[in-house]
């Protein structure tokens, strides 16, 4: 690990000022310290933001507002979250391990880096780690990689579970920077790799995530998260799906669906959603709609199985959501 300075801030103002002069935030540290130890990430100055008053979880009308520093554990255990947005709670406890969930903040979770093995290896080319050095994964071992949103420069998947749920639920994020506050959909936080895979998110220099806001809706209780993996726990998703359905008299009025493990960012599937609206809760309907998820999919040498697993995961997640009370 390269040496760095570490300072603590106690106000949002001070945090933004520090970040504006090139310092980097550290919260739970579970991604950052891991990558710093590998020297994949090399910040020279860290600002510990854990003392900022951003850990609150509150209900505002039908919205759920989660402070950026709220820990995964606390969000998942929050009675209001479990009542209003069981999907969020479910996606959180399917992620990482109890210890890591005690450490990791929601803000850090959204900003976590990819799990491509070559990204972590200095002796392999990686356009994300070292722009224009090449991609070892595209012609290498890529069973875990994305089939959607890839470019010729990068095909790494975004690893977060809760981000998939948040994208499905049209969550927004509130950020503040040197030029003031702004709010935008969580979905817009994530950039596609294109030819700049080293740029992963849309935060501007100095911006700090303050909170994530999840609007309530008629579908938010009929919503489930399905994570498919070889190990029953403590493993990243091969494929995951967050599905929320608003059903009246057996007919789908609204459907929201996002998937993980297959995209270079948490992947919203609006064409699949459209194909479900006005249709009954029927497996055949789900199967037909789920095939639409593969539009534009580009498999690599090792991940063809995701072309099969993705629609199956969607079908099953929709069934689960349909069965949810």
């Amino acid at each position: 690990m390269l040496p760095f300075t570490l300072e603590k801030v106690t106000s949002v103002q001070a945090a933004i000022a520090a970040a504006s002069s090139g310092r980097r935030f550290i919260a739970g540290g579970t991604t950052l310290i891991d990558l710093m130890r590998e020297e994949v990430d090399q910040p020279a100055h860290l600002v510990d933001i854990n003392a900022l008053p951003l850990s609150e979880i509150r209900i505002e009308g039908s919205d759920l507002v989660i402070g950026a520093l709220a820990r995964m554990t606390d969000i998942a255990a929050h009675a209001g979250v479990q009542r209003l947005h069981p999907l969020v709670a479910e996606s959180l406890v399917e992620g990482a391990s109890p210890q890591l969930r005690n450490m990791a903040s929601i803000g850090g979770n959204l900003l976590q880096r990819v799990r491509c093995p070559y990204f972590r290896m200095h002796d392999a080319p990686c356009n994300k780690r070292s722009p224009n050095s090449g991609c070892a994964a595209i012609d290498g071992l890529n069973a875990g990689h994305a089939i959607l949103g890839t470019s010729n420069h990068c095909a790494a998947t975004h690893p977060s579970d809760v981000a998939v749920a948040l994208v499905a639920l049209d969550a927004t994020m509130q950020v503040r920077g040197p030029r003031g506050e702004r709010t935008f959909p969580v979905e817009e936080l994530f950039r596609l790799p294109g030819d700049t895979p080293h740029l992963e998110h849309t935060l501007l220099p100095g911006e700090l995530i303050l909170a994530v806001r999840i609007p309530g809706g008629p579908d938010s209780r009929r919503a489930r998260y399905l994570k498919v993996r070889d190990r029953a726990s403590y493993e990243f998703a091969l494929v995951s799906a967050a599905a929320a359905l608003d059903v009246e008299d057996g007919v789908i009025r609204q459907a929201r669906l996002a998937v993980g493990g297959v995209g270079t960012r948490p992947w919203r599937l609006r064409t699949v959603e459209k194909a479900l609206i006005g249709k009954p809760l029927d497996r055949k309907i789900f199967e037909t709609a789920a095939r639409l998820a593969l539009e534009g999919a580009r498999p690599l040498s090792g991940n063809h199985y995701k072309l099969e697993l993705l629609p199956r995961t969607i079908v099953r997640a929709l069934e689960m959501a349909g069965e949810a009370a």
Partner: protein, 208 residues
């Protein structure tokens, strides 16, 4: 066994000033086939921008009820402070990547992996490790239950399992064997003592 100067660890640790120096490999072409090794110049900042000194000043940690004032290299993980600075070697380093749970301790009452946090971020924190569980020579009920239910073999993951189990019980996640299995899945046991671990946590939870 441990000399006193090591307890203050880093007073002399003025860190390298040429921090941008980093490992490089070279692009190799053999018979027209480029091998995987490639130029990867990873230095993020010019050398001159690296901090000249990396001391954080004094960090106070209360470990098993005992206060320590340490002058730490900010890079040092809580795990390495416990093991290498304080010689509390009961907490184990299994992967140093947050992927095995062997280094689990309680930080202000919550179970965490101590390999993925910087000690310098926890000024004033209370840390409980496996060495701090006995009371007047009596095992903590979960320690006793691990022996009784044979929830261990080699014993290397055991301190982390026990600290995690204490967290699991305190969180209210030890209501059934299935619940325990889910909430104890952050601690890998390669010997495969899982059934005994579940039985031990269930047993201790009954008395908690």
């Amino acid at each position: 066994m441990k000399n006193d100067e090591r307890l203050t660890d880093g007073a002399v640790e003025t860190e390298e000033q040429r921090g941008g120096l980093s490992r490089r490999s070279i692009l190799l072409t053999v018979g027209g086939v480029a091998t995987l090794a490639a130029v990867s110049e990873v230095a993020a900042q010019p050398i001159s921008e690296r901090p000249p000194s990396a001391s954080t000043g004094r960090v106070r940690l209360v470990v098993n009820g005992r206060q320590h004032e340490l002058d730490l290299d900010p890079r040092r993980s809580l795990l390495d402070v416990l093991r290498e600075t304080l010689d509390l070697t009961g907490t184990k380093k299994g992967c140093n990547q947050g992927a095995c749970g062997a280094c689990t301790v309680l930080l202000n009452g919550r179970r965490i992996v101590s390999c993925l946090t910087l000690a310098a971020m926890h000024d004033g924190a209370e840390i409980k490790t496996i060495e701090g569980l006995e009371t007047n020579g009596e095992l903590h009920p979960l320690q006793a239950a691990f022996v009784e239910h044979d929830g261990l073999q080699c014993g290397f993951c055991t301190p982390g399992q026990i600290m995690s189990g204490i967290g699991c019980i305190a969180e209210g996640h030890a209501g059934s064997p299935d619940e325990i299995r889910f909430w104890m899945s952050g601690n890998i046991c390669r010997c495969g003592a899982y059934p005994g671990i579940v039985a031990a946590v269930a047993d201790a939870a009954k008395g908690a």
